[in-house]
């Protein structure tokens, strides 16, 4: 069996991040974009926790900085999701659509 080291977690985190970014950039539906943003944030969480564990391995069990920060990120993600959905509602009220590429009022 392979030893699951920190690197594996980081790669997983990077992969999730990449998926999230691709989702933000290419998906048409606003809801999917928001979900992708959540995915990015969670990937970041994974990174943070992985590094917290790594640091605990070096500096002892009180190096919980990564995990604390991950809690912050989760809170922030929740707030952001609320705001994002608010924007989505306003967006929908104005445009009757949830396709991002139909909002190009700033296009010349």
């Amino acid at each position: 069996m392979l030893d699951i080291s920190t690197l594996h977690y980081l790669v997983l985190g990077a992969a999730l991040f990449l998926l999230g970014v691709i989702g933000v950039l290419t998906r048409r539906n606003v809801v999917i974009v928001l979900m992708s943003i959540e995915l990015i944030l969670n990937a970041v969480n994974l990174n943070l926790v992985a590094f917290s564990r790594y640091w605990q391995g070096i500096h002892g069990p009180s190096a919980l900085h990564g995990q604390v920060f991950a809690i912050f990120v989760i809170t922030d993600a929740a707030a952001e999701a609320a705001v994002g959905l608010g924007i989505l509602i306003a967006f929908f009220r104005n445009k009757e659509t949830v396709n991002v590429d139909e909002v190009h009022l700033l296009k010349w």
Partner: protein, 711 residues
């Protein structure tokens, strides 16, 4: 010495009369006006008589010097403020006083001016009795007497000039007395303006005299002139000065070419014509030249000019007078002609003869004018002789006195005019130089013409058939005593005044000329004999110890001329009925037309000097200058102004174009257009999509990471 020392009262009395008329005249009764104005002149005459008597007595004990009384220094001072440098380089202080000079010359003028003036004032009370503006008339007459007396009694040229201008002013006021009539106000303007032209010459002459002599007082000028050894330059300047003075005399005394105002001056009331334009004002020029005789004697050329102008004027005016129909015009031209005789006399050096003619002429010419006024009064205002006739029995006093005056002016002995005119002709004949014989001939023919036109006047007015309308005929009446009395007095003078100058050749003592010796004889020295040019100028009076037979011959010829003129007039006019023909018109109609139109001189002056008539399209003279100036102002000056305006607007247009296209176009709009042009490609990057923004953010992030990792 009472009168002599108070000689300043003589001009002052009429001035007082004029002042009273000016301030209070409007409210006075006619009788008060008479009392004041006529009274002051009577007083002045009495004073003048007393003064002359006292002067004669005084002069006997004072070498017959002139009596000078200076009241105060009017111009200049002793403090050197008005110093100037004279021609020979010495310093002189300009000074002119209010001063009075009495010598035989001014004594004679004084007596006849005040005497004839007094008679005319009395006459005017009758003549102007029914006219409006009575007090104004007498005020002006008194002002005139004041000015004339100032002129005569002045002791220097400047005060003389004050009087000169004053009489010119009064002439203007009196000619234009009926100023509501345009012809009268035009005539007044003409008189004053033509006079002014002469005055310019007078003033220039005065400048020359002041520069030459250093002073303008007569005694100083005479002393300068009598001094020996004048350099040729000085003599040239003296000639210039005397010619300029003569120009002034031409203006005032109506000689060619400045005589044109005198006939028009007949627009004024007849007493004015009598006083001013016959007896007194027009003799001012003669007086001035006689007063300057010392200077004139130094300039033979000037004297020749004076003589020639005088003779030509005499014959010129007489020829016009032959055909005039207005009774006053005939007398006006007669005055011009007789003044020509006076200047002829002065020009040949016979100063005493000239003054004698002034003296006698004053009486008979004033009488003629006053008589004409009486005729006009009798004829209810008619002045045209074509409408008169057969008045002799109806206005006997007027007729007889005018006949006496006509005999006098025609030169028939023993009336006054014979002696004076004959003396002039004799002096002209005996002057050195053949040219003077020609002048004698001119004078002779003029005498014939004078007799002709004067008797023409008598025949047409008093004899011949009555040619007036019936209403006028009914109203013919003799004038009141206030008018006929002066006529009688003047007739007596016209008869007897000549006896004062009874010539040696006829056994007399020529007291008139002897009286004037101190003025015209050259003091102690008889200089200029060495000049040689005109020997007769060496003495003011010819020394005739013996009379040549030529004198009697010439005397006989003059009387003959007068008689022939009388006879010719009688032949043509003694039976003139309505529609009579003029003999000259019958003989030579173009000549008649020319004479009737006064040789078209007034029209000629209008073409050349005043510019009232255009020659083709060109206007000369003063109005031509006005037109030319107006053209210059409208086209050149205003053109320049318009050009300046146009230039301003053109530059404004240029500025605005520059501002709009260059400054705004390139300076302001240029960067804007540049920015817009650059924006076109730049815009292409904008899609307005959120995901595009996210992509660009991601790309940037990746770039940072790569940079961070690989650096």
């Amino acid at each position: 010495m009472l009168f002599l020392n108070n000689i300043w009262l003589i001009p002052l009395l009429p001035a007082l009369g004029a002042a009273i008329m000016f301030f209070f005249g409007r409210k006075l009764q006619k009788s008060s006006v008479n009392a004041v104005c006529v009274g002051v002149v009577v007083l002045a005459f009495l004073m003048a008589c007393g003064t002359v008597v006292q002067y004669n007595a005084w002069a006997d004990g004072h070498h017959h010097r002139p009596f000078e009384k200076i009241i105060y220094t009017w111009l200049g001072s002793d403090t050197g403020h008005l110093n100037f440098v004279t021609q020979n380089g010495s310093q002189a202080a300009f000074q002119a006083d209010a001063g009075f000079l009495l010598d035989p010359l001014s004594a004679i003028w004084l007596l006849f001016v005040t005497g004839v003036g007094m008679l005319i004032h009395i006459y005017s009370t009758g003549y102007m009795a029914h006219e409006g503006g009575y007090y104004r008339f007498f005020g002006y007459l008194n002002l005139f007497m004041f000015s004339m007396l100032t002129l005569i009694l002045a002791n220097n040229y400047v005060l003389l000039f004050v009087g000169w201008e004053g009489v010119g002013l009064c002439s203007y006021l009196l000619i234009g007395f009926y100023f509501q009539r345009k012809s009268a106000s035009d005539a007044a303007n003409k008189a004053f303006i033509v006079n002014r032209i002469g005055d310019a010459g007078f003033i220039l002459g005065m400048f020359f005299i002041a520069w030459l002599c250093g002073s303008l007082r007569f005694v100083d000028v005479n002393a300068f002139a009598h001094a020996a050894n004048h350099s040729p330059d000085t003599l040239k300047y003296i000639m210039a000065a005397t010619l300029l003075l003569f120009v002034g005399a031409c203006g005032k005394s109506a000689q060619l070419p400045l005589y044109v105002w005198l006939p028009d001056a007949m627009e004024g009331p007849t007493p004015v014509s009598a006083l001013i334009h016959a007896a007194t004002m027009v003799t001012a020029g003669v007086y001035m030249v006689a007063r300057s005789n010392a200077l004139f004697l130094l300039a033979p050329t000037s004297m020749e000019v004076v003589a020639i102008v005088g003779a030509l004027t005499a014959i010129f005016a007489a020829s016009i007078g032959l055909v005039q129909n207005d009774i006053k015009r005939v007398l006006a031209y007669s005055t011009v002609s007789q003044l020509g005789y006076m200047f002829l006399a002065l020009g040949v050096g016979a100063f005493a003869a000239g003054v004698f003619h002034v003296f006698t002429h004053a009486f008979f010419k004033a009488l003629l004018f006053l008589g004409a006024g009486s005729v006009i009064h009798a004829m209810s205002g008619e002045q045209d002789m074509r409408n008169m006739g057969a008045l002799a029995s109806k206005i006997p006093v007027t007729y007889r006195t005018m006949l006496i005056a006509t005999l006098a002016i025609a030169g028939i002995p023993p009336f006054a005019g014979f002696f004076s005119k004959d003396e002039i002709l004799w002096q002209t004949w005996t002057s050195e130089g053949g040219a003077y014989r020609i002048l004698w001939g001119i004078g002779y023919i003029t005498a014939l013409m004078t007799a002709f036109y004067m008797f023409r006047l008598i025949y047409l007015t008093f004899y011949s058939k009555p040619r007036m309308s019936h209403e006028v005929e009914h109203h013919i009446h003799e004038s009141p005593a206030s008018m006929t009395m002066p006529l009688v007095v003047l007739a007596v003078m016209s008869l007897f005044a000549g006896f004062l100058g009874w010539p040696h050749s006829l056994g007399g003592s020529d007291r008139f000329a002897r009286y004037l010796d101190p003025v015209f004889a050259r003091g102690e020295a008889r200089v200029l004999v060495e000049e040689g040019k005109s020997g007769q100028l060496a003495a003011g009076e010819k020394e005739e110890e013996h009379t040549s037979p030529t004198e009697y011959l010439l005397m006989f010829l003059s009387v003959g001329a007068a008689g022939v003129g009388w006879w010719m007039a009688g032949r043509s006019y003694s039976n003139a009925d309505k529609g009579y023909t003029e003999p000259i018109a019958a003989a030579a109609p173009p000549v008649y037309k020319t004479l009737l139109n006064k040789y078209y001189v007034d029209e000629g002056y209008d073409y050349v000097f005043t510019g009232r008539r255009k020659i083709g399209n060109v206007r000369l003279g003063t109005m031509g200058l006005g037109e030319a100036s107006s053209w210059f102002d409208t086209n050149v000056v205003d053109g320049a102004v318009n050009a300046a305006g146009w230039l301003t607007r053109a530059s404004a247009t240029l500025s605005s174009w520059w501002d709009k296209w260059i400054i705004d176009g390139i300076g302001v709009n240029g960067p804007a257009i540049l920015a817009r042009m650059l924006s076109y490609p730049a815009r292409l990057f904008e899609a307005g999509l959120v995901q595009w923004y996210a992509l660009v953010m991601t790309a940037g992030l990746v770039g940072f990471v790569f940079y961070y990792v690989y650096h």
